[in-house]
Protein backbone atom coordinates (compact mmCIF):
# COMPACT_ATOMS: atom_id res chain seq x y z
CA UNK A 1 0.00 0.00 0.00
CA UNK A 2 1.25 3.46 -0.83
CA UNK A 3 1.94 5.83 2.01
CA UNK A 4 -1.22 7.46 3.33
CA UNK A 5 0.32 10.92 2.91
CA UNK A 6 0.68 10.29 -0.83
CA UNK A 7 -3.10 10.28 -1.26
CA UNK A 8 -4.95 13.23 -2.73
CA UNK A 9 -8.06 14.42 -0.90
CA UNK A 10 -10.30 12.60 -3.37
CA UNK A 11 -8.35 9.34 -2.91
CA UNK A 12 -8.25 9.68 0.89
CA UNK A 13 -11.97 10.40 0.89
CA UNK A 14 -12.57 7.10 -0.93
CA UNK A 15 -10.25 5.17 1.37
CA UNK A 16 -11.97 6.53 4.47
CA UNK A 17 -15.39 5.73 3.09
CA UNK A 18 -14.33 2.16 2.30
CA UNK A 19 -12.75 1.84 5.78
CA UNK A 20 -9.34 1.01 4.28
CA UNK A 21 -7.85 3.18 7.02
CA UNK A 22 -9.19 5.42 9.77
CA UNK A 23 -9.07 9.20 10.00
CA UNK A 24 -6.79 8.79 13.02
CA UNK A 25 -4.36 6.64 11.01
CA UNK A 26 -4.36 9.22 8.24
CA UNK A 27 -3.74 12.05 10.70
CA UNK A 28 -0.98 10.11 12.46
CA UNK A 29 0.72 9.49 9.13
CA UNK A 30 0.74 13.25 8.49
CA UNK A 31 1.95 14.09 12.00
CA UNK A 32 4.87 11.68 11.54
CA UNK A 33 5.67 13.16 8.11
CA UNK A 34 5.57 16.69 9.56
CA UNK A 35 8.11 15.75 12.19
CA UNK A 36 10.49 14.48 9.53
CA UNK A 37 10.03 17.57 7.37
CA UNK A 38 10.74 20.21 10.00
CA UNK A 39 13.78 21.46 8.11
CA UNK A 40 11.38 22.96 5.56
CA UNK A 41 10.05 25.24 8.33
CA UNK A 42 6.60 25.10 6.72
CA UNK A 43 4.72 24.92 10.02
CA UNK A 44 5.13 27.55 12.72
CA UNK A 45 2.94 25.56 15.11
CA UNK A 46 1.94 21.92 15.01
CA UNK A 47 -1.27 20.96 16.80
CA UNK A 48 -1.02 17.16 17.13
CA UNK A 49 -3.39 16.85 20.09
CA UNK A 50 -6.09 18.89 18.46
CA UNK A 51 -5.54 16.96 15.21
CA UNK A 52 -5.97 13.58 16.89
CA UNK A 53 -9.03 14.76 18.76
CA UNK A 54 -10.61 16.01 15.53
CA UNK A 55 -9.65 12.79 13.71
CA UNK A 56 -11.27 10.66 16.41
CA UNK A 57 -14.44 12.70 16.11
CA UNK A 58 -14.31 12.16 12.33
CA UNK A 59 -13.94 8.42 12.83
CA UNK A 60 -17.00 8.43 15.08
CA UNK A 61 -19.03 10.28 12.45
CA UNK A 62 -17.78 8.03 9.65
CA UNK A 63 -18.64 4.93 11.70
CA UNK A 64 -22.16 6.29 12.12
CA UNK A 65 -22.42 6.67 8.35
CA UNK A 66 -22.24 10.45 8.64
CA UNK A 67 -19.52 12.87 7.75
CA UNK A 68 -19.01 16.02 5.71
CA UNK A 69 -17.28 16.66 2.40
CA UNK A 70 -13.85 16.82 4.06
CA UNK A 71 -14.44 14.31 6.83
CA UNK A 72 -11.11 13.22 8.34
CA UNK A 73 -8.97 15.13 5.81
CA UNK A 74 -5.88 16.68 7.49
CA UNK A 75 -5.22 20.29 6.49
CA UNK A 76 -2.70 23.01 7.21
CA UNK A 77 -3.96 26.52 7.95
CA UNK A 78 -2.07 29.66 6.99
CA UNK A 79 -1.13 31.67 10.08
CA UNK A 80 -3.29 34.55 8.76
CA UNK A 81 -6.54 32.73 9.65
CA UNK A 82 -7.83 33.16 13.18
CA UNK A 83 -8.13 29.76 14.85
CA UNK A 84 -9.72 29.79 18.27
CA UNK A 85 -7.21 29.29 21.07
CA UNK A 86 -4.39 28.52 18.63
CA UNK A 87 -1.37 30.66 17.63
CA UNK A 88 -2.50 33.24 15.03
CA UNK A 89 0.19 35.81 14.47
CA UNK A 90 0.41 36.51 10.72
CA UNK A 91 4.02 35.40 11.28
CA UNK A 92 4.74 38.80 12.83
CA UNK A 93 6.57 39.60 16.06
CA UNK A 94 3.94 42.26 16.81
CA UNK A 95 1.27 39.61 17.39
CA UNK A 96 3.40 37.68 19.89
CA UNK A 97 1.32 35.33 21.97
CA UNK A 98 -1.97 36.16 20.23
CA UNK A 99 -4.56 33.42 20.55
CA UNK A 100 -7.91 34.47 19.07
CA UNK A 101 -11.12 33.99 21.01
CA UNK A 102 -12.93 33.23 17.74
CA UNK A 103 -12.62 31.20 14.55
CA UNK A 104 -12.37 32.62 11.01
CA UNK A 105 -15.37 31.86 8.81
CA UNK A 106 -13.24 29.99 6.25
CA UNK A 107 -11.62 27.68 8.80
CA UNK A 108 -14.95 27.22 10.60
CA UNK A 109 -16.45 26.10 7.27
CA UNK A 110 -13.68 23.50 6.91
CA UNK A 111 -14.22 22.13 10.43
CA UNK A 112 -17.98 22.07 9.81
CA UNK A 113 -17.24 19.76 6.85
CA UNK A 114 -15.12 17.45 9.01
CA UNK A 115 -11.56 18.54 8.19
CA UNK A 116 -8.73 18.02 10.69
CA UNK A 117 -6.27 20.79 11.62
CA UNK A 118 -2.60 19.77 11.62
CA UNK A 119 -1.18 23.18 12.52
CA UNK A 120 -0.49 26.72 11.41
CA UNK A 121 1.61 27.42 8.33
CA UNK A 122 4.46 29.84 7.88
CA UNK A 123 4.03 32.87 5.61
CA UNK A 124 5.52 36.24 4.82
CA UNK A 125 4.87 38.67 7.66
CA UNK A 126 1.31 40.03 7.24
CA UNK A 127 1.32 38.36 3.79
CA UNK A 128 3.79 40.95 2.50
CA UNK A 129 6.33 39.20 0.37
CA UNK A 130 6.89 36.94 -2.62
CA UNK A 131 9.50 34.57 -1.22
CA UNK A 132 8.59 33.79 2.39
CA UNK A 133 11.73 35.59 3.52
CA UNK A 134 9.92 38.19 5.64
CA UNK A 135 8.43 35.81 8.24
CA UNK A 136 9.41 36.43 11.86
CA UNK A 137 9.67 32.64 12.07
CA UNK A 138 12.32 32.34 9.40
CA UNK A 139 12.40 31.29 5.76
CA UNK A 140 10.41 28.39 4.39
CA UNK A 141 12.40 26.02 2.19
CA UNK A 142 10.93 24.83 -1.09
CA UNK A 143 10.88 21.00 -1.23
CA UNK A 144 12.02 21.30 -4.85
CA UNK A 145 15.69 21.62 -5.74
CA UNK A 146 17.43 22.47 -8.99
CA UNK A 147 18.59 19.41 -10.89
CA UNK A 148 21.94 18.25 -9.53
CA UNK A 149 21.97 20.87 -6.77
CA UNK A 150 21.25 20.74 -3.11
CA UNK A 151 20.93 24.49 -2.63
CA UNK A 152 17.78 25.76 -0.93
CA UNK A 153 15.17 27.62 -2.96
CA UNK A 154 12.29 29.84 -1.84
CA UNK A 155 8.75 28.47 -2.05
CA UNK A 156 7.35 31.83 -3.17
CA UNK A 157 5.07 33.92 -1.02
CA UNK A 158 3.25 35.01 0.83
CA UNK A 159 1.59 31.58 1.23
CA UNK A 160 5.01 29.88 1.13
CA UNK A 161 4.35 27.58 4.07
CA UNK A 162 1.05 26.46 2.53
CA UNK A 163 2.63 25.71 -0.85
CA UNK A 164 5.70 23.97 0.59
CA UNK A 165 3.58 21.84 2.93
CA UNK A 166 1.28 20.72 0.12
CA UNK A 167 4.21 19.94 -2.19
CA UNK A 168 6.04 18.04 0.57
CA UNK A 169 2.93 16.01 1.43
CA UNK A 170 2.82 17.23 5.02
CA UNK A 171 -0.82 18.22 4.68
CA UNK A 172 -3.48 17.04 2.24
CA UNK A 173 -4.18 20.65 1.25
CA UNK A 174 -3.87 24.08 2.81
CA UNK A 175 -5.68 27.37 3.15
CA UNK A 176 -3.95 30.39 1.68
CA UNK A 177 -4.68 34.02 0.87
CA UNK A 178 -3.95 36.13 -2.18
CA UNK A 179 -3.65 39.92 -2.25
CA UNK A 180 -1.38 40.30 -5.28
CA UNK A 181 -0.46 36.73 -6.17
CA UNK A 182 0.18 35.10 -2.79
CA UNK A 183 -1.69 31.89 -3.66
CA UNK A 184 -0.80 31.53 -7.34
CA UNK A 185 2.90 32.45 -7.28
CA UNK A 186 3.89 29.98 -4.50
CA UNK A 187 1.70 27.32 -6.13
CA UNK A 188 3.63 27.83 -9.38
CA UNK A 189 6.97 27.66 -7.51
CA UNK A 190 6.11 24.33 -5.87
CA UNK A 191 4.22 22.44 -8.58
CA UNK A 192 0.89 22.72 -6.76
CA UNK A 193 -2.51 24.07 -7.75
CA UNK A 194 -3.49 27.46 -6.28
CA UNK A 195 -6.91 29.03 -6.71
CA UNK A 196 -7.75 32.64 -5.90
CA UNK A 197 -11.51 32.97 -6.19
CA UNK A 198 -13.49 36.08 -7.12
CA UNK A 199 -13.34 38.84 -4.51
CA UNK A 200 -16.30 38.24 -2.22
CA UNK A 201 -16.48 34.45 -2.71
CA UNK A 202 -14.75 33.52 0.56
CA UNK A 203 -15.49 35.46 3.69
CA UNK A 204 -12.66 37.64 4.97
CA UNK A 205 -14.03 37.50 8.52
CA UNK A 206 -11.33 36.35 10.91
CA UNK A 207 -8.50 36.69 8.38
CA UNK A 208 -5.84 39.17 9.49
CA UNK A 209 -6.38 42.13 7.14
CA UNK A 210 -3.62 43.29 4.77
CA UNK A 211 -5.33 45.19 1.91
CA UNK A 212 -9.04 44.81 2.38
CA UNK A 213 -10.15 45.57 -1.19
CA UNK A 214 -7.73 42.94 -2.57
CA UNK A 215 -7.44 40.16 0.06
CA UNK A 216 -9.14 36.89 -0.81
CA UNK A 217 -8.79 33.39 0.63
CA UNK A 218 -8.41 30.27 -1.47
CA UNK A 219 -6.87 26.80 -1.42
CA UNK A 220 -3.50 25.35 -2.39
CA UNK A 221 -3.86 21.68 -3.27
CA UNK A 222 -2.11 18.84 -5.06
CA UNK A 223 -4.40 18.69 -8.05
CA UNK A 224 -7.26 20.58 -9.62
CA UNK A 225 -9.93 18.29 -8.21
CA UNK A 226 -8.64 18.75 -4.65
CA UNK A 227 -8.61 22.53 -5.12
CA UNK A 228 -12.25 22.33 -6.24
CA UNK A 229 -13.19 20.21 -3.22
CA UNK A 230 -11.45 22.68 -0.90
CA UNK A 231 -13.02 25.79 -2.42
CA UNK A 232 -16.50 24.29 -2.18
CA UNK A 233 -16.05 24.10 1.60
CA UNK A 234 -14.15 27.36 2.10
CA UNK A 235 -16.56 29.54 0.13
CA UNK A 236 -19.79 30.78 1.69
CA UNK A 237 -22.13 33.71 1.99
CA UNK A 238 -21.29 35.36 5.28
CA UNK A 239 -23.30 38.13 6.97
CA UNK A 240 -20.16 38.96 8.99
CA UNK A 241 -18.35 40.21 5.85
CA UNK A 242 -20.20 42.98 4.00
CA UNK A 243 -18.20 42.24 0.84
CA UNK A 244 -19.27 38.60 0.86
CA UNK A 245 -21.36 38.17 -2.28
CA UNK A 246 -24.83 36.75 -2.03
CA UNK A 247 -24.52 33.89 -4.52
CA UNK A 248 -24.91 30.16 -3.85
CA UNK A 249 -21.68 28.12 -3.87
CA UNK A 250 -21.70 25.73 -6.84
CA UNK A 251 -20.36 22.19 -6.86
CA UNK A 252 -16.96 23.01 -8.33
CA UNK A 253 -15.89 19.39 -8.54
CA UNK A 254 -18.66 18.73 -11.05
CA UNK A 255 -16.88 21.04 -13.51
CA UNK A 256 -13.86 18.75 -13.72
CA UNK A 257 -13.88 16.59 -16.81
CA UNK A 258 -16.45 18.72 -18.62
CA UNK A 259 -15.31 19.06 -22.24
CA UNK A 260 -13.74 22.42 -23.06
CA UNK A 261 -14.72 22.25 -26.72
CA UNK A 262 -15.86 25.65 -27.89
CA UNK A 263 -14.40 27.60 -24.94
CA UNK A 264 -12.76 30.79 -26.14
CA UNK A 265 -9.38 31.36 -24.51
CA UNK A 266 -7.75 34.79 -24.68
CA UNK A 267 -3.99 35.27 -25.00
CA UNK A 268 -3.22 38.85 -23.91
CA UNK A 269 -0.38 40.26 -25.95
CA UNK A 270 0.65 42.63 -23.14
CA UNK A 271 1.77 39.68 -21.02
CA UNK A 272 4.64 39.04 -23.42
CA UNK A 273 6.95 41.15 -21.26
CA UNK A 274 10.51 42.18 -22.02
CA UNK A 275 13.12 39.80 -20.79
CA UNK A 276 10.69 36.93 -20.25
CA UNK A 277 12.67 33.67 -20.27
CA UNK A 278 12.18 31.63 -23.45
CA UNK A 279 11.05 28.60 -21.46
CA UNK A 280 8.18 30.58 -19.90
CA UNK A 281 7.07 31.75 -23.33
CA UNK A 282 7.35 28.19 -24.71
CA UNK A 283 5.26 26.84 -21.82
CA UNK A 284 2.62 29.46 -22.47
CA UNK A 285 2.38 28.44 -26.13
CA UNK A 286 2.25 24.80 -25.16
CA UNK A 287 -0.65 25.55 -22.80
CA UNK A 288 -2.56 27.23 -25.62
CA UNK A 289 -1.89 24.23 -27.89
CA UNK A 290 -3.16 21.78 -25.26
CA UNK A 291 -6.40 23.72 -24.89
CA UNK A 292 -6.73 24.02 -28.68
CA UNK A 293 -6.23 20.27 -29.06
CA UNK A 294 -9.23 19.78 -26.77
CA UNK A 295 -11.37 21.97 -28.98
CA UNK A 296 -10.93 25.39 -27.36
CA UNK A 297 -10.57 28.41 -29.57
CA UNK A 298 -7.47 30.57 -29.03
CA UNK A 299 -8.01 34.29 -29.46
CA UNK A 300 -5.36 37.02 -29.31
CA UNK A 301 -6.66 39.81 -27.06
CA UNK A 302 -5.43 43.11 -25.68
CA UNK A 303 -5.46 44.25 -22.06
CA UNK A 304 -3.82 47.64 -22.64
CA UNK A 305 -3.50 48.78 -19.01
CA UNK A 306 -1.68 45.66 -17.82
CA UNK A 307 1.62 47.44 -17.21
CA UNK A 308 -0.03 49.86 -14.78
CA UNK A 309 -1.44 47.16 -12.53
CA UNK A 310 1.70 46.64 -10.47
CA UNK A 311 2.46 50.33 -9.82
CA UNK A 312 -1.20 50.94 -8.95
CA UNK A 313 -1.10 47.92 -6.64
CA UNK A 314 1.90 49.42 -4.83
CA UNK A 315 -0.26 52.41 -3.95
CA UNK A 316 -3.52 50.66 -3.09
CA UNK A 317 -2.07 47.76 -1.09
CA UNK A 318 0.31 49.78 1.15
CA UNK A 319 -2.32 52.49 1.67
CA UNK A 320 -4.86 49.96 2.90
CA UNK A 321 -2.19 48.13 4.87
CA UNK A 322 -1.05 51.28 6.68
CA UNK A 323 -4.63 51.80 7.73
CA UNK A 324 -5.30 48.17 8.69
CA UNK A 325 -2.06 47.83 10.61
CA UNK A 326 -2.73 50.95 12.68
CA UNK A 327 -4.51 48.68 15.16
CA UNK A 328 -1.23 47.13 16.35
CA UNK A 329 -0.27 49.54 19.08
CA UNK A 330 0.69 47.39 22.03
CA UNK A 331 -2.62 47.98 23.83
CA UNK A 332 -5.10 45.28 22.93
CA UNK A 333 -2.94 42.36 21.88
CA UNK A 334 0.56 41.28 21.02
CA UNK A 335 3.86 42.91 21.72
CA UNK A 336 4.23 45.93 24.00
CA UNK A 337 7.52 47.77 24.37
CA UNK A 338 7.38 50.40 27.14
CA UNK A 339 8.08 54.07 26.43
CA UNK A 340 8.21 57.46 28.13
CA UNK A 341 4.55 58.11 27.40
CA UNK A 342 1.75 56.46 25.45
CA UNK A 343 2.88 57.68 22.02
CA UNK A 344 6.43 56.57 22.76
CA UNK A 345 5.03 53.19 23.76
CA UNK A 346 3.13 52.93 20.44
CA UNK A 347 6.21 53.89 18.45
CA UNK A 348 8.51 51.53 20.30
CA UNK A 349 6.11 48.62 20.03
CA UNK A 350 5.55 49.10 16.32
CA UNK A 351 9.24 49.62 15.56
CA UNK A 352 10.17 46.43 17.41
CA UNK A 353 7.18 44.40 16.25
CA UNK A 354 7.07 45.02 12.50
CA UNK A 355 9.75 43.69 10.19
CA UNK A 356 11.54 45.70 7.54
CA UNK A 357 9.22 45.00 4.59
CA UNK A 358 6.12 45.71 6.66
CA UNK A 359 7.57 49.00 7.92
CA UNK A 360 8.49 49.96 4.38
CA UNK A 361 4.92 49.38 3.21
CA UNK A 362 3.40 51.20 6.19
CA UNK A 363 5.61 54.20 5.40
CA UNK A 364 4.69 54.19 1.70
CA UNK A 365 1.03 53.78 2.58
CA UNK A 366 1.10 56.57 5.15
CA UNK A 367 2.92 58.82 2.69
CA UNK A 368 0.46 58.30 -0.18
CA UNK A 369 -2.49 58.86 2.16
CA UNK A 370 -0.98 61.92 3.88
CA UNK A 371 -2.50 65.37 3.47
CA UNK A 372 -2.32 66.70 -0.08
CA UNK A 373 -1.31 63.42 -1.68
CA UNK A 374 -4.53 61.41 -1.48
CA UNK A 375 -5.81 62.47 -4.92
CA UNK A 376 -2.42 62.28 -6.59
CA UNK A 377 -1.82 58.72 -5.44
CA UNK A 378 -4.70 56.70 -3.99
CA UNK A 379 -7.52 58.17 -6.09
CA UNK A 380 -5.37 58.00 -9.23
CA UNK A 381 -4.55 54.35 -8.51
CA UNK A 382 -8.22 53.52 -7.95
CA UNK A 383 -9.03 55.14 -11.29
CA UNK A 384 -6.33 53.09 -13.00
CA UNK A 385 -7.93 50.09 -11.35
CA UNK A 386 -11.20 50.94 -13.09
CA UNK A 387 -9.33 50.97 -16.41
CA UNK A 388 -7.77 47.56 -15.68
CA UNK A 389 -11.19 46.18 -14.87
CA UNK A 390 -12.65 47.72 -18.06
CA UNK A 391 -9.92 46.00 -20.10
CA UNK A 392 -11.17 42.67 -18.78
CA UNK A 393 -14.83 43.63 -19.21
CA UNK A 394 -14.11 44.25 -22.90
CA UNK A 395 -12.21 40.98 -23.18
CA UNK A 396 -15.19 39.04 -21.82
CA UNK A 397 -17.18 39.96 -24.91
CA UNK A 398 -14.65 37.97 -26.95
CA UNK A 399 -13.42 35.22 -24.64
CA UNK A 400 -14.51 32.99 -21.74
CA UNK A 401 -11.17 32.94 -19.98
CA UNK A 402 -7.61 34.19 -20.29
CA UNK A 403 -4.39 32.15 -20.32
CA UNK A 404 -1.09 33.61 -19.07
CA UNK A 405 2.11 32.39 -17.42
CA UNK A 406 1.78 32.31 -13.61
CA UNK A 407 5.21 33.77 -12.85
CA UNK A 408 8.04 35.34 -14.85
CA UNK A 409 10.55 32.74 -13.54
CA UNK A 410 10.84 29.51 -11.58
CA UNK A 411 11.75 29.52 -7.86
CA UNK A 412 14.90 31.44 -6.93
CA UNK A 413 17.35 31.18 -4.05
CA UNK A 414 16.91 32.94 -0.70
CA UNK A 415 18.77 36.24 -0.75
CA UNK A 416 18.89 36.28 -4.55
CA UNK A 417 16.48 39.22 -4.85
CA UNK A 418 17.15 42.07 -2.41
CA UNK A 419 15.76 45.06 -4.29
CA UNK A 420 12.12 45.54 -3.17
CA UNK A 421 10.89 46.68 -6.59
CA UNK A 422 12.58 43.68 -8.25
CA UNK A 423 10.81 41.42 -5.76
CA UNK A 424 7.46 43.09 -6.55
CA UNK A 425 7.89 42.13 -10.24
CA UNK A 426 7.26 38.50 -9.26
CA UNK A 427 3.58 39.39 -9.17
CA UNK A 428 3.51 40.95 -12.63
CA UNK A 429 1.16 38.30 -14.09
CA UNK A 430 -1.00 37.76 -11.02
CA UNK A 431 -1.65 41.24 -9.65
CA UNK A 432 -4.03 42.41 -12.41
CA UNK A 433 -6.43 39.70 -11.27
CA UNK A 434 -6.60 41.11 -7.74
CA UNK A 435 -6.95 44.66 -9.03
CA UNK A 436 -9.97 43.59 -11.10
CA UNK A 437 -11.31 41.26 -8.38
CA UNK A 438 -11.37 38.29 -10.75
CA UNK A 439 -10.76 34.59 -10.07
CA UNK A 440 -7.45 33.05 -11.14
CA UNK A 441 -5.92 29.62 -10.89
CA UNK A 442 -2.28 28.53 -11.16
CA UNK A 443 -1.79 25.02 -12.45
CA UNK A 444 1.53 23.18 -12.88
CA UNK A 445 2.32 22.81 -16.57
CA UNK A 446 5.94 21.77 -16.93
CA UNK A 447 9.48 21.87 -15.63
CA UNK A 448 12.21 24.41 -16.28
CA UNK A 449 15.56 23.41 -17.78
CA UNK A 450 16.78 23.16 -14.15
CA UNK A 451 13.98 20.74 -13.31
CA UNK A 452 11.85 23.24 -11.37
CA UNK A 453 8.07 23.47 -11.68
CA UNK A 454 6.50 26.16 -13.86
CA UNK A 455 2.86 27.13 -13.77
CA UNK A 456 0.25 28.57 -16.07
CA UNK A 457 -2.48 30.91 -14.93
CA UNK A 458 -6.08 30.96 -16.07
CA UNK A 459 -8.15 34.07 -15.35
CA UNK A 460 -11.94 33.92 -15.33
CA UNK A 461 -14.99 36.13 -15.38
CA UNK A 462 -16.39 37.20 -11.99
CA UNK A 463 -17.66 34.02 -10.33
CA UNK A 464 -16.38 31.98 -13.27
CA UNK A 465 -14.53 29.55 -10.98
CA UNK A 466 -16.20 26.51 -12.55
CA UNK A 467 -14.86 27.38 -16.01
CA UNK A 468 -11.40 27.78 -14.47
CA UNK A 469 -11.52 24.35 -12.83
CA UNK A 470 -12.80 22.87 -16.08
CA UNK A 471 -9.97 24.34 -18.19
CA UNK A 472 -7.29 23.83 -15.51
CA UNK A 473 -8.21 20.15 -15.40
CA UNK A 474 -7.63 19.97 -19.16
CA UNK A 475 -4.16 21.50 -18.75
CA UNK A 476 -3.40 19.13 -15.88
CA UNK A 477 -4.52 16.20 -18.00
CA UNK A 478 -2.20 17.23 -20.83
CA UNK A 479 0.78 18.30 -18.71
CA UNK A 480 0.76 15.44 -16.24
CA UNK A 481 1.58 15.72 -12.55
CA UNK A 482 4.82 16.95 -11.04
CA UNK A 483 6.04 15.71 -7.71
CA UNK A 484 8.74 17.18 -5.49
CA UNK A 485 9.44 13.74 -4.10
CA UNK A 486 12.61 12.89 -6.00
CA UNK A 487 14.13 16.08 -4.62
CA UNK A 488 14.19 15.43 -0.93
Amino acid sequence: MTSLTALTISAAREGLKKKQFSALELTDAYLAAMEKARLLNAYVVETPEKAREMARASDARLAAGQGGALEGIPLGIKDLFATEGVHTQACSHILDGFKPQYESTVSANLWRDGAVMLGKLNMDEFAMGSSNETSYYGNVINPWKRKGSNAALVPGGSSGGSAAAVAAHICAAATATDTGGSIRQPAAFTGTVGMKPTYGRCSRWGIVAFASSLDQAGPIARDVRDAAIMLKSMASVDPKDTTSVDLPVPDYEAAIGRPIKGLRVGIPKEYRVDGMPAEIDALWQKGAEWLKAEGAEIVEISLPHTKYALPAYYIVAPAEASSNLARYDGVRYGLRVPGDDIVDMYENSRAAGFGREVQRRILIGTYVLSAGYYDAYYVRAQKVRTLIKQDFDKAWSEVDLVLTPATPSPAFAPGEITDPVQMYLNDIFTVTVNMAGLPGIAVPAGLSADGLPLGLQLIGKPFGEETLFQAAAAIEQAAGRFSAWPCW
Binding site: H305, Y314, A326, L363, I364
Partner: protein, 95 residues
Protein backbone atom coordinates in the same frame (compact mmCIF):
# COMPACT_ATOMS: atom_id res chain seq x y z
CA UNK B 1 8.15 63.82 -6.22
CA UNK B 2 11.10 62.82 -4.12
CA UNK B 3 11.15 62.12 -0.44
CA UNK B 4 13.82 63.80 1.69
CA UNK B 5 15.00 62.69 5.10
CA UNK B 6 12.80 65.21 6.88
CA UNK B 7 9.75 63.74 5.12
CA UNK B 8 10.72 60.21 6.14
CA UNK B 9 10.82 61.33 9.77
CA UNK B 10 7.48 63.12 9.46
CA UNK B 11 5.77 60.13 7.82
CA UNK B 12 7.27 57.73 10.37
CA UNK B 13 5.86 59.94 13.10
CA UNK B 14 2.42 59.88 11.43
CA UNK B 15 2.67 56.08 11.20
CA UNK B 16 3.79 55.84 14.83
CA UNK B 17 6.96 54.04 13.88
CA UNK B 18 10.13 54.91 15.73
CA UNK B 19 12.88 55.19 13.15
CA UNK B 20 16.54 55.34 14.10
CA UNK B 21 18.43 58.31 12.65
CA UNK B 22 20.94 56.03 10.99
CA UNK B 23 18.13 54.21 9.13
CA UNK B 24 16.60 57.38 7.67
CA UNK B 25 18.87 57.67 4.58
CA UNK B 26 18.25 54.00 3.67
CA UNK B 27 14.49 54.40 4.08
CA UNK B 28 14.49 57.58 2.00
CA UNK B 29 16.30 55.69 -0.77
CA UNK B 30 13.88 52.76 -0.65
CA UNK B 31 10.81 54.98 -0.61
CA UNK B 32 12.12 56.98 -3.54
CA UNK B 33 12.73 53.80 -5.51
CA UNK B 34 9.15 52.67 -4.92
CA UNK B 35 7.73 56.13 -5.64
CA UNK B 36 9.79 56.22 -8.83
CA UNK B 37 8.24 52.92 -9.86
CA UNK B 38 4.76 54.26 -9.12
CA UNK B 39 5.40 57.44 -11.12
CA UNK B 40 4.55 55.75 -14.45
CA UNK B 41 0.88 56.05 -13.49
CA UNK B 42 1.12 59.74 -14.38
CA UNK B 43 1.13 58.86 -18.08
CA UNK B 44 -2.39 57.37 -17.85
CA UNK B 45 -5.25 59.64 -18.86
CA UNK B 46 -7.72 59.40 -16.00
CA UNK B 47 -9.64 62.63 -16.62
CA UNK B 48 -12.99 60.96 -17.24
CA UNK B 49 -12.53 57.78 -15.18
CA UNK B 50 -14.36 57.08 -11.93
CA UNK B 51 -12.34 55.50 -9.12
CA UNK B 52 -13.12 51.85 -8.52
CA UNK B 53 -15.10 51.41 -5.33
CA UNK B 54 -16.22 47.81 -5.59
CA UNK B 55 -15.24 44.76 -7.57
CA UNK B 56 -18.70 43.52 -8.41
CA UNK B 57 -21.71 45.78 -8.59
CA UNK B 58 -23.60 45.12 -5.42
CA UNK B 59 -25.73 47.04 -3.01
CA UNK B 60 -24.24 47.71 0.37
CA UNK B 61 -25.79 45.18 2.70
CA UNK B 62 -27.90 46.54 5.52
CA UNK B 63 -28.99 44.82 8.67
CA UNK B 64 -31.35 45.59 11.51
CA UNK B 65 -29.78 48.01 13.97
CA UNK B 66 -29.82 45.72 16.95
CA UNK B 67 -27.34 44.18 19.36
CA UNK B 68 -26.39 40.71 18.09
CA UNK B 69 -23.11 40.11 19.88
CA UNK B 70 -21.16 41.06 22.97
CA UNK B 71 -21.29 40.78 26.75
CA UNK B 72 -17.96 38.97 27.07
CA UNK B 73 -15.43 41.56 28.22
CA UNK B 74 -13.10 38.83 29.53
CA UNK B 75 -12.69 37.53 26.01
CA UNK B 76 -12.09 41.02 24.66
CA UNK B 77 -9.21 41.71 27.05
CA UNK B 78 -7.89 38.13 27.06
CA UNK B 79 -4.92 38.97 24.80
CA UNK B 80 -4.04 42.36 26.29
CA UNK B 81 -0.38 42.82 27.28
CA UNK B 82 -1.60 44.71 30.37
CA UNK B 83 -5.09 44.63 31.84
CA UNK B 84 -6.96 45.24 35.05
CA UNK B 85 -10.27 43.41 35.37
CA UNK B 86 -12.09 44.21 32.13
CA UNK B 87 -9.91 47.19 31.21
CA UNK B 88 -6.92 47.65 28.93
CA UNK B 89 -4.04 49.29 30.82
CA UNK B 90 -2.02 52.06 29.16
CA UNK B 91 0.58 54.52 30.43
CA UNK B 92 -0.90 57.60 32.11
CA UNK B 93 -2.42 59.91 29.47
CA UNK B 94 -4.08 62.65 31.55
CA UNK B 95 -2.30 64.25 34.51
Amino acid sequence: MSVDQQTVKRVARLARLKVKDEDVPRLAGELNAILGFIEQLNEVDIATVEPMTSVVTMKMKMRQDEVTDGHYPQKIVANAPAKDDDFFMVPKVVE
